[in-house]
């Protein structure tokens, strides 16, 4: 565990990092970004917390069971969205035209409209959830592991 200054600053900064990561996830269909990129930003925040506090402390907050369930939920939402259009074809973008993310933008340059894209922003959320849970579990497991502890089932 590092000094009190580092711990306090880390506790304050994690909020901004999470907000920035969520911004990158949500705007994935109009600016560079998306599920994996935003998730990786948030995981870098988790790594900052891991460096400030040690891994035993962090294990009490990020329990392994919670991360497992979050990861499976993200993947299941993604597959459920893919199956939703199976009436036509798998992965069919059935939200085009509906009020949820359904506006069709004009072809060519223009200001980005966040309410476009159909199923794609929802899939970005699901992938972001999965990446956060998965990569945090990997980082936490490696930190605990090199400290000498085994993470059992």
């Amino acid at each position: 565990m590092l000094t009190k200054i580092v711990r306090t600053v880390a506790n304050q900064l994690i909020l901004f990092i999470v907000i920035f990561g969520l911004y990158v996830i949500v705007h994935g269909h109009i600016t560079p970004g998306g599920g994996f990129q935003g998730g990786a930003v948030i995981v870098s925040g988790v790594v900052m917390l891991l460096a400030a506090f040690n891994s035993q402390e962090l294990k009490k907050t990020l329990r392994e069971r919670t991360l497992s369930i979050m990861e499976s939920t993200g993947a299941l939402i993604f597959i459920a969205l893919a199956f939703a259009g199976i009436g036509t074809v798998f992965f069919y973008n059935l939200l085009v035209g509906t009020p949820i993310f359904g506006r069709v933008p004009a072809i060519g340059p223009g200001p980005g409209d966040i309410w476009t894209g159909g199923v794609i922003p929802l899939m970005n959320f699901a992938v972001g959830l999965k990446v956060i849970a998965g990569l945090s579990a990997v980082v936490l497991a490696l930190a605990l592991f090199s400290g000498g502890e085994e993470v059992e089932e």
């Binding site: 069971r65 497992s68 369930i69 990861e71 499976s72 993947a75 299941l76 597959i79 893919a82 199956f83 259009g85 199976i86 036509t88 074809v89 798998f90 992965f91 069919y92 973008n93 085994e150 059992e152 089932e153």
Partner: protein, 522 residues
């Protein structure tokens, strides 16, 4: 029912993926529910695979476009080239997917008891189902980049499963070697994909088959792709990781790794025959494949003769049998440009190689499963320490005998049918190939008999007095594969007419593959 068959290519890929991620929450609740989920999903996928196989046999190549307005709309109005991710299922894909689903089902049922005493079983089944997804995606995909992605999915899950038993050091070493080889092979494939995309601006295999000219960069891409897939199937001289990875994995995973090697052979055939089919320098590439195939056959069996570890011994034999398949299909490739020779013996050589893939996928996982059964009950893989196990483990002994007779090519079992097809057709190409094949076959029989004698025959040893037969689910897993062997033994010409010849024709006939995607009218 017709709708189910129309959507079946993507359902076959998506249902194991769905089941993989459902396994974790359901497994945390109840163990039996998880086992039921795994088995039900694989049985349903098996039903879909056979329905799709019958449909492809009747109606021809099956194309599925993800995300379009209708499943076969590969070129929408106003576009000149196919867009979107396209799955294309022809005779060859269907053949490999039949093998894949049967062995996956047997491996999953075998694993119910084999890893019952280990921790982390939920993750095991998640990874197993992910590996199944990766394999199906590899076989059904119609564009190169999806080939890369599904290859990586199968490789990463496979490596994690090899290193599943974390208490031992040698499993970690085997898994590490597997993931290093897979990573290097996949990065080479990605480099080749980049080279091809840069020239032709398309990733679709059918479009590339139309546009490809044999420039210098294309030759480099072909060399990279073939070397990468040869590395993954264990062709000599790139085979050094193969016995290490196969000997330490849990036995059901070794069975899955065998068919992963076959899937990488499928990818190599798809590239050589379908993508480069019209422009490839067939005699040169064919001869290179034949020479390395001969080397593989020979090195595999000679290294196997003095092994003491039973799984390592069987994995060297797997290397040598893979050489037979390369030789058979290599002869077909070498005469690809010559229609007269192709009709005389080229098609038969390819059919022999492909039939050998089917037989190998039946008897090799069976032999690995029996090796795993020996490990499960005696706790050791060392043949010198085992002895006299035939008294107690009767089922395992009988299944091992069936596997041995198959691999050595003893008539009337299925190994003989495919080997005689290979011998007769490659003899007309060049006699030395047949002679080497027969010598390797004799050495195979000799080494397997020695191993049988060492493990099963002899007096009962005192330390194995309370050894019983293996649990029922392991026997059911092995019996599924043995039933496949018996079926192919009894009806070889049926199998050849219905499955093997369509697969060989699908490889030779490049035009039908291209027309299915680019000539498709909504």
């Amino acid at each position: 029912m017709a709708a189910l068959i129309t959507h079946s290519p993507i359902l076959i890929i998506a249902i194991p993926l769905l089941a993989a991620f459902l396994t974790l929450p359901i497994g945390m609740a109840s163990r039996k529910a998880r086992n039921v989920l795994v088995m039900v999903s694989l049985v349903f996928v098996a039903f879909l695979v056979f329905a799709l196989a019958r449909d492809v046999g009747i109606n021809g190549i099956h194309v599925y476009t993800l995300g379009a307005a209708s499943p076969d709309l590969s070129i929408p109005t106003g576009f000149m080239v196919p867009v979107r991710i396209i799955l294309e299922v022809d005779g060859m894909s269907v053949f490999f997917s039949i093998i894949w689903v049967i062995v996956s089902l047997a491996a999953a049922i075998y694993s119910f008891s084999h890893i019952a005493s280990e921790t982390g079983q939920n993750r095991f089944f998640t990874l197993l189902l992910l590996m199944v997804t990766g394999g199906f995606g590899l076989m059904f995909t119609g564009d190169l980049f999806n080939l890369f992605v599904f290859l990586e999915i199968a490789s990463i899950s496979g490596a994690a499963l090899i290193a599943f038993r974390t208490k031992f050091a040698d499993t970690q070493e085997g898994g590490f070697k597997y993931i290093v080889v897979s990573a290097i092979a996949s990065l080479m494939v990605l480099f080749a994909i980049g080279l091809l995309y840069a020239q032709y601006n398309s990733l679709n295999i059918a479009t590339l088959a139309q546009l490809i000219q044999y420039t210098a960069l294309d030759k480099i891409a072909l060399a990279l792709l073939l070397i990468a897939f040869a590395m993954k199937t264990g062709m000599v001289p790139l085979h050094l990781w193969f016995p290490d990875a196969y000997s330490v994995a849990p036995a059901s995973i070794t069975g899955m790794l065998v068919i992963t090697s076959h899937a990488c052979m499928y990818a190599a055939f798809r590239i050589c025959f379908t993508m480069y089919g019209g422009v490839i320098n067939a005699p040169v590439v064919g001869w290179i494949i034949i020479i390395f195939g001969l080397l593989t056959m020979f090195v595999g069996v000679t290294m196997a003769v003095f092994q003491k570890d039973v799984m390592r011994f069987m994995s060297y034999h797997a290397i040598s049998q893979l050489g037979y398949m390369w030789v058979g299909v290599g002869v077909g490739l070498a005469v690809l440009g010559n229609p007269a020779l192709l009709a005389t013996y080229g098609r038969d050589a390819m059919s022999g190689g492909i039939f050998h893939i089917l037989n190998h996928a039946m008897y090799k996982p069976l032999l690995f499963f029996t090796g795993g059964a020996l490990f499960h009950r005696t706790g050791t893989r060392d043949l010198t320490k085992m002895g006299g196990l035939a008294h107690k483990m009767k089922w395992t002994t009988i299944l091992y005998i069936i596997g041995t007779l198959s691999i050595s090519g003893i008539p009337p079992l299925n190994g003989f049918s495919s080997k005689i097809l290979i011998y007769e057709s490659v003899y007309q190409f060049h006699p030395i190939l047949t002679i080497t094949g027969i010598i390797v076959s004799i050495l195979t029989l000799a080494s397997f008999t020695k191993a049988f004698h060492s493990a099963f025959m002899g007096a009962e040893l005192p330390e194995y007095k309370e050894v019983k037969e293996v649990p029922r689910s392991m026997i059911i897993g092995m019996v599924i594969l043995a039933a496949g062997i018996v079926f192919v033994t009894l009806f070889p010409s049926l199998i050849v007419d219905w499955i093997i010849h369509p697969a060989a024709d699908a490889l030779i006939d490049q035009g039908a593959y291209i027309n299915a995607v680019t000539g498709a009218i909504p």
